[in-house]
């Protein structure tokens, strides 16, 4: 037994009081100390049963419950309640009264409760029991870049049926299970920990680089650079978790420019430079765009392409786009306050983009390299390696460059 753990239980008590109280009692029998926080925006039977009532949350959010109840602007009210809940939660954690968070709700409840979870650090146990988890588009909004466990209730959280009690029991036990055993909080070990972006088409390179650097005494944390993992990396770099970044797959920059599937937000490729930590940049996926089929513009159908899977097709960038994206890369990297090296393979930028494949075109890739070199500040070195991204030789060059910038 590791002692009683405080658990924050987030629910809307106007409609889900019975279910929340069942979950609370279950947590108590498991030896936890639950604290219920109510995010109701309407009047209802369960109000007054929470340790942290909705009016306190509204107040912490800079409003009053009365204003919230009378408002027609639900979006705004949800933002207020979420902001208030974040403030209170942060305080409870500082006071060591809360060691894990569990939420239950439908669409709105999930949106607000996960909004609170997004403000909590990586490694802090967080479970969201949601009846809206299976809905297209919503689970993405709930998870964002946070390490939340999303538990699909399948049935509505309305009425304590055998099926729902089964779901709530499992969720409570999952959270208490997460408290068992030793807690591994990520150390902010700094210099010896390196963040690395990767994608399936540069997986071999990523593995070789990781293994080599592990042998040299570093630990390498991988992030899937498809628009979410790479965004999370930027956040964690800003939190000071890493001593360096190897950005093998910064394609999210161009995808953001054009609004496509791997869009990694406006801050991509900037955090490491701002923090002044060393970085090595490469180009996996940078010469391709990934628009969703519904966003195809005229002419996209005729572009050279590679079908990654049923949902994603990589289209070759046009020469104009390559030059435009190179400009954005240069602008972002020129703001770096730490050492930067760019390492580019001359025989294809991924396994998708290798000799013989339909989108392989090193001549057009050269347009990117030229434009980048022209605009980059002189401190940033661009290394060209006569190999494919997935060749052993290229991985070696990345490792060498990394050890150099780390020096």
């Amino acid at each position: 037994m590791t002692g009683v753990k405080g658990v924050l239980l987030i629910a809307t008590m106007d409609t889900k009081a019975k279910e929340a109280l069942y979950l609370r009692d279950k947590m108590k029998t498991l030896g936890q100390a639950p604290i219920v926080m109510d995010l109701s925006m309407k009047r209802g039977e369960g109000r007054g049963l929470a340790e942290i009532p909705a009016y306190e949350v509204a107040k912490a959010g800079g409003s009053t419950l009365k204003q919230i109840q009378n408002s027609q602007d639900l979006d705004h009210c949800m933002k207020v309640m979420t902001a208030g809940a974040v403030k209170i939660t942060q305080r409870l954690i500082r006071e060591s009264r809360v060691h894990g968070v569990i939420g239950l709700g439908g669409y709105r409840g999930s949106l607000m409760a996960t909004g609170v979870m997004h403000s909590l650090p990586f490694g802090f146990p967080k479970i969201m029991v949601s009846s809206a988890a299976g809905l297209p588009g919503l689970s993405t909004q709930f998870l964002k870049t946070s390490d939340i466990i999303l538990f699909h209730s399948v049935i509505e959280i309305a009425g304590l049926t055998a099926l729902l009690m089964n779901v709530l029991d499992r969720a409570a036990c999952a959270l208490s299970g997460m408290f068992r055993g030793k807690q591994v909080a990520p150390r902010s070990s700094g210099t010896k920990t390196i963040a690395m972006t990767m994608l399936g088409p540069c997986e071999r390179c990523a593995r070789r680089v990781r293994v080599s650097l592990e042998q040299a005494g570093y630990q390498v944390i991988g992030f899937h650079a498809a628009g979410i993992g790479d965004r999370a990396m930027e956040d964690m770099v800003t939190d000071g978790l890493f001593g360096a970044v190897i950005d093998l797959a910064p394609g999210g920059v161009g995808e953001h420019l054009y609004g496509f599937m791997r869009d990694a937000g406006p801050n991509r490729l900037e955090s490491a430079g701002k923090m002044g930590i060393p970085q090595v940049i490469s180009t996996c996926g940078v010469n391709h765009i990934t628009p969703s089929k519904s966003k195809y513009k005229p002419g996209y159908g005729e572009r050279r392409k590679y079908d990654l899977d049923r949902f994603r097709t990589w289209l070759r960038m046009s020469p104009r786009e390559l030059k435009e994206v190179a400009g954005v890369f240069a602008r972002k990297l020129n703001n770096s306050t730490g050492p930067v090296k760019v390492v580019i393979p001359l025989a294809g930028w991924s396994s998708v983009d290798s000799p013989g494949k339909p989108t392989y075109d090193p001549k057009e890739d050269a347009l990117f390299i030229q434009a980048l070199k022209k605009r980059l500040k002189k401190e940033v070195e661009v290394l060209e390696v006569d190999a494919n991204m997935e060749d052993l030789e290229f991985a070696k060059a990345v490792v060498k460059a990394t050890l150099e910038v780390l020096r």
């Binding site: 988890a133 939340i148 538990f151 593995r207 990781r210 293994v211 899937h224 599937m261 969703s292 899977d309």
Partner: protein, 416 residues
């Protein structure tokens, strides 16, 4: 006896990580069965159920699979094989929970296998692609899968990946500890499935109260295209004894291209199973067409149906409801009738003529009685004569309407 947890992994590249997870689960006192689904190469550690055995169960050959470059073709073989192997373990009482971890490919594979397991068996997927828009909903779909977003790639053992795997081990062990296996139908009180959504809340709450008073247990399902589809699956598994299909909108949304699309087989399971059902037209009067941004981007549903010119309800930018036209309702009536005509059990259809939901009562954003009016005659025209259609001069969200449908269902169940 110790309970069994299955780890589904690709041992060609994730051997160390799987070994760590196994060790953490065993430290909690559970037995681990390691199942290898790798198509890339030889495992770096021995599996309890090898990739070779999985491939054979799926009707393939692991050597051919490994040399094939066509992952689109070989992945289904491994999914099929792993599903068969996992079912065997379940039948032998050697599966109390399942856990897997990985990126896009393995999450697709492992969640497909998990989907074949019944409601109540703990299923935990640790995924670095859990939050990707293209996949997230497909991974979970209608199942009680617990999705843990790993944020970092689970490649290599480091502080962060160990932290994730440690929590995953705790999570699955906690759930398995508590679980009694698959949820079985409870015979004491009959189970009623009820579909509902926001705009029918008052009615559904009232129906639930009334039916509970009569000794039923009511399970509500959110009619957004997933919950209602899950209900159809639970009906097929024989878990439910009667249905209040208050919001069958998944049918019209499927027909018209709305967000609540519940697929082509919605509104059929109850009839197929022969259990009594009451049905209303709630939700047929609106098309869920958010987010609002689609309006200006040449979205095909918006353009083809001219939604921008219609009555429209916008509670927030994501959930936008446009009014269904009379012409569309005629089509909906025909399809609904075709589906209900196949029913083996009793069906009653109730239409509240003063508003099918809170959005279409007098003064509300989607009020259009002249369009609603075409539905009842069309429905009668296509329905089997023995299926009764009752028009009640009231709003759906009134106690009187709730009482009428609750009593009708109660009567049908008692007479069945």
């Amino acid at each position: 006896m110790a309970k069994h947890i299955i780890i589904l992994s690709t041992l060609d590249t994730k051997g160390d990580e799987a070994a760590y997870l196994k060790q953490r689960i065993e430290a909690e006192g559970f037995r681990v069965t390691l199942l290898d689904t790798a198509i890339g190469g030889e495992p770096s550690m021995p599996a309890d159920i090898s990739a070779k055995a999985v491939a054979e169960a799926g009707g393939g050959n692991i050597h051919e699979i490994r040399s094939s470059k066509d992952t689109g073709h070989v992945t289904p073989i491994m999914i099929k094989g792993a599903t068969i192997k996992v079912q065997e373990l379940l039948e032998k009482g050697l599966l109390d929970g399942i856990v897997s971890f990985g990126g896009a490919s393995n999450t697709t594979l492992a969640t497909s296998v998990m989907k074949a397991l019944p409601f109540g068996i703990p299923k935990l997927m640790v995924s670095s692609t859990a939050s990707m828009p293209a996949y997230a909903a497909k991974y979970i779909d209608t199942k009680d899968i617990t999705m843990m977003h790993s944020v970092v790639d689970i490649s290599g053992l480091n502080d962060l990946t160990r932290a994730v795997l440690q929590r995953a081990a705790g999570g699955i062990c906690g759930m398995v500890d508590a679980s009694d296996g698959a949820v079985k139908p409870v015979s004491e009180s009959p189970l009623i499935g009820l579909t509902t959504f926001k705009f029918a809340e008052a009615c559904s709450q009232h129906v639930m109260d009334l039916l509970s008073q009569k000794g039923y247990t009511v399970i509500p399902f959110h009619a957004q295209g997933i919950g209602d589809r899950a209900m159809e699956e639970l009906i097929d598994q024989g878990l439910l004894d009667g249905i209040v299909d208050l919001v069958p909108a998944g049918v019209s949304e499927h027909l018209l291209g709305g967000n609540r699309d519940a697929g082509p087989i919605r509104l059929e399971a109850a009839g197929r199973r022969g259990i009594p059902q009451v049905v209303t037209p709630c939700g047929f009067e609106m098309i869920s067409c958010g987010p609002l941004g689609r309006k200006d981007t040449g979205d095909p549903v918006w353009t083809r149906r001219g939604l921008a010119e219609r009555k429209i309800f916008i509670p927030d930018e994501f959930r936008v409801q446009a009014r269904t036209s009379a012409e569309e309702l005629l089509k909906v009536a025909e399809v609904v009738a075709q589906k209900l005509n196949k029913s083996k059990g009793r069906v009653q259809f109730f239409i509240p003529t003063q508003g099918w939901s809170s959005l279409s009562v007098k003064g509300a954003d989607l009020w259009e009685p002249e369009s609603d009016g075409v539905f009842a005659p069309a429905l009668r025209e296509h329905l089997r004569p023995d299926i009764e259609v009752s028009e009640l001069p009231m709003e759906l969200n009134t106690p009187a309407f709730a009482e009428t449908i609750a009593e009708a269902l109660d009567k049908m169940i008692k007479e069945a």
